[in-house]
């Protein structure tokens, strides 16, 4: 291969990496993603409920200790945020005095910095029918979920006790935490967690989509810059247009790859560094499982990344980028300004999006007809295949076949794009019609 390819690629790479926007984009994106995922993990570990669920008055009109049980359960729950100095107040009243107790509690709710609300436990509650709550946080879904589940559990315990079940057995029976672990089974045996595989496939798909949308359009803009500044003619008198095009694709692709590797590394570092610090407050009781839950997607993804999967994903990644980058370059060579570029890029963007919009249906049916067909279409397979491979077992024959078709598709794109590029780079003036472009392809 012409060594001038690397001179062109070097320029494309260095000039882009040197810009302020590259540095900002590379650092900011992982910070946002890491911040978001830590926040999600934090919320998940806290069960979402605020300390307000403890800052209530419990009015118990049943003749049982249901009120105290609910209060104790709320205090024992580690997923509730905030200090445990605030405790629910339990009022055991006769059904006849309920109206008065309620009026008293509701006036307290209205006072500033006082209780958040009050909970009414009646015989109807004990019968498993209804429970009533009034308070400032009544529209908080997480708080209400917490109260509901706590009351339900306490009610079960009281009823079991009434039925004469031993207290130790009751505790044992009601304190169960059910975690739902999934594992994918295939002809080749266990291949890691089902979710993790899908997750890994989706990451590859999303990253390729971002690479195409961000850096593919970067190529388009670069080509237009060379045309509008007329530097193209000097460059093309030194290197063949095909060499220039190849250098561009390699250089800009390298920029994209650098950025994405940096994104993955920085995000992983930030998450692994800050996650334990943020989750430290919950390192009692449920902590082990919470940490395990937070860590499981990461380890799961890592476990499902066998060298084979990484190799195939990287292969599709490169093929997909080359395919679209060449088309973007050809689109850029056809036009003379940034404004026209948006129009010229539309067919290429539509092609990417047509593949991306099929991701959802394919996730629902990874072995369906649509999935199989798309795996054989070169503009869709680089996005679709990694996701399918993450979800189900795709036969090596199908993978190899799809890859060969994708490679052939990329070669066709390079041939076509190269011809349009060769002629278009030196064509100024009005935007060509499709007939004219067809002629370029013929005459180049």
């Amino acid at each position: 291969m012409d060594k001038k390819v690397f001179i062109v690629a070097k320029r494309e790479y260095l000039e882009r990496v040197r810009t302020r926007w590259f540095v900002i984009g590379t650092l900011l994106f992982p910070a946002v993603i890491a911040g978001f995922s830590i926040m999600m993990a934090y919320v998940a570990s806290k069960g979402g409920a605020s300390s307000a669920v403890r800052h209530i008055t419990i009015i118990n009109t049943t003749s049982t200790d249901l009120g105290q049980r609910v209060a104790d359960a709320l205090m024992a729950d580690t997923s509730v945020a905030g200090p445990d100095t605030i405790k629910p107040r339990v009022l055991n009243v006769a059904p006849a005095d309920l109206a008065q107790a309620e009026a008293q509690a509701s006036s307290e709710v209205k006072l500033p910095n006082h209780i958040a609300g009050y909970l009414v436990l009646s015989d109807s509650t004990l019968a498993g029918k209804s429970v009533r709550y009034a308070g400032r946080n009544a529209s908080s879904i997480t708080d209400m979920d917490k109260l509901q589940s706590t009351v339900r559990q306490a009610m079960m315990m009281v009823r079991l006790q009434t039925e004469g079940v031993k207290p130790e057995i009751i505790t044992d029976l009601t304190k169960t935490r059910l975690r739902f672990n999934t594992e994918r089974l295939s002809e080749r045996g266990r291949t890691g967690s089902g979710q993790a595989g899908l997750f890994a496939g989706l990451i590859v798909g999303v990253m390729l989509l971002m690479l195409i949308m961000l850096h593919g359009q970067n190529i388009l803009r670069g080509v237009i810059e060379e045309k509008t500044t007329r530097v193209a003619e000097v460059v093309i008198s030194s290197v063949k247009p095909e060499t220039l095009l190849a250098g561009k694709v390699i250089g800009v692709g390298g920029v994209g790859l650098t950025q994405q590797v940096a994104w993955l590394a920085i995000t992983a570092y930030l998450v692994s560094f800050f996650m334990p610090i943020v989750l430290k407050g919950t390192t009692v009781g449920a902590s082990a499982s919470a940490n395990a839950a937070a860590a499981s997607p990461v380890t799961g993804v890592l476990n499902s990344l066998t060298p084979m999967v990484i190799g195939v994903a990287l292969g599709y990644f490169i093929i997909g980028f080359v395919f679209y980058a060449t088309l973007f370059a050809a689109a850029g060579a056809m036009v003379n300004s940034e404004q026209e570029a948006q129009q010229a890029a539309m067919p290429v963007i539509a092609l990417v999006m047509s593949a991306w919009l099929c991701v959802n249906p394919i996730m629902l049916a990874p072995t369906g007809k649509l999935a199989v067909i798309l795996s054989w279409l070169p503009w869709a397979s680089p996005i679709i295949m990694p996701i399918r491979m993450g979800m189900t077992t795709v036969s090596p024959v199908e993978i190899a076949g799809s890859m060969i078709v994708a490679v052939l598709g990329s070669i066709a794109a390079m041939w076509l794009g190269g011809r349009i590029y060769r002629v278009g780079m030196l064509m100024y003036g009005k935007k060509p019609s499709f007939r004219e472009v067809a002629k370029w392809i013929k005459y180049a």
């Binding site: 001038k4 001179i7 062109v8 320029r11 000039e15 810059e225 060379e226 509008t228 500044t229 007329r230 530097v231 003619e233 000097v234 460059v235 093309i236 008198s237 030194s238 290197v239 063949k240 030196l426 100024y428 003036g429 002629k439 005459y443």
Partner: protein
Amino acid sequence: MSDLAIDIRNVVKRYEEHVAVRDLSLQVPRGSVYGLLGPNGAGKTTTIRMILDVILPDSGSITLFGQPNTNPGVLDRVGYLPEERGLYKKMQVRRVLSFLAELKGIGAAEAARRIDEWLERFSLKTADKDWGESKVDELSRGMQQKVQFIATLLHDPELVILDEPFSGLDPINAQALKDAVLDLKRRGKTVVFSTHVMDNAEKMCDSVCIIARGEKVLDGAVSAVKRGAGARHVALSLTGGAQNGVSSVLEDTQLVRTVDDNTNFFEIELAPAADPQKLLRRLIDAGANIERFELVQPSLHQIFLERVGAQGIETGMSGHG
């Protein structure tokens, strides 16, 4: 080792609507300054682009220094200044120059050394300001033109091709360019430039080729071209212009075939078999106040007008040269 820097044989380039270059052959000797002359749309830029293998001819052959121009490395010996000029605007001057030199096979370290030399020569690098560190779009238009010229010559090419180099240059830069071309010639380089300004060509070129409508009209050494046109021309200067009956004398087709009227100066082509002495007598009789009457070789401009004519400038041919 061929004596020809460029040898074009029977080159044809057809586009859908028209023939840009038809059956063109021309030879540029090594070490010469060669002018490619023609009206706009004549096929000059198309020819130059084919020499540089930017576009492919439909038929015919092009060799540079005796090798096909498609041979790897041949074009590294050529420097090219296109008519449409431009550089990467957001790039540092030094990096642009280094990039373009590296594309011509010069190592980065060697390029850096030469860039300093050239920037100093064009006073773009002085004790208090180094424009090489600036971005291209921070430079004035004149400075950008200098940078572009440096880019053309940085790899010390044996053949320098300049497409309409004088267009858009102020008189000072135009003079600097002429000096640079003569300097290249002294150092044994070959220079080819295209222009439609005959005056520049006549003063600078050893040989010329006039093309129109994609065809060669004539070519050869400037002296031979002028000799070939014959001494049937009269340079006439009149004080106070063509007054009285002078105009009717100049309109007499028995004596005058064509006249290029510049108010006070006339370049006259005599009619076949007309006697210049008779023309002089008639002018004196008509009361002309003659400052100069001289039998001369025709100017390139005159030859061009005669051979190409007004119809040589084909309308509706968009694009370049």
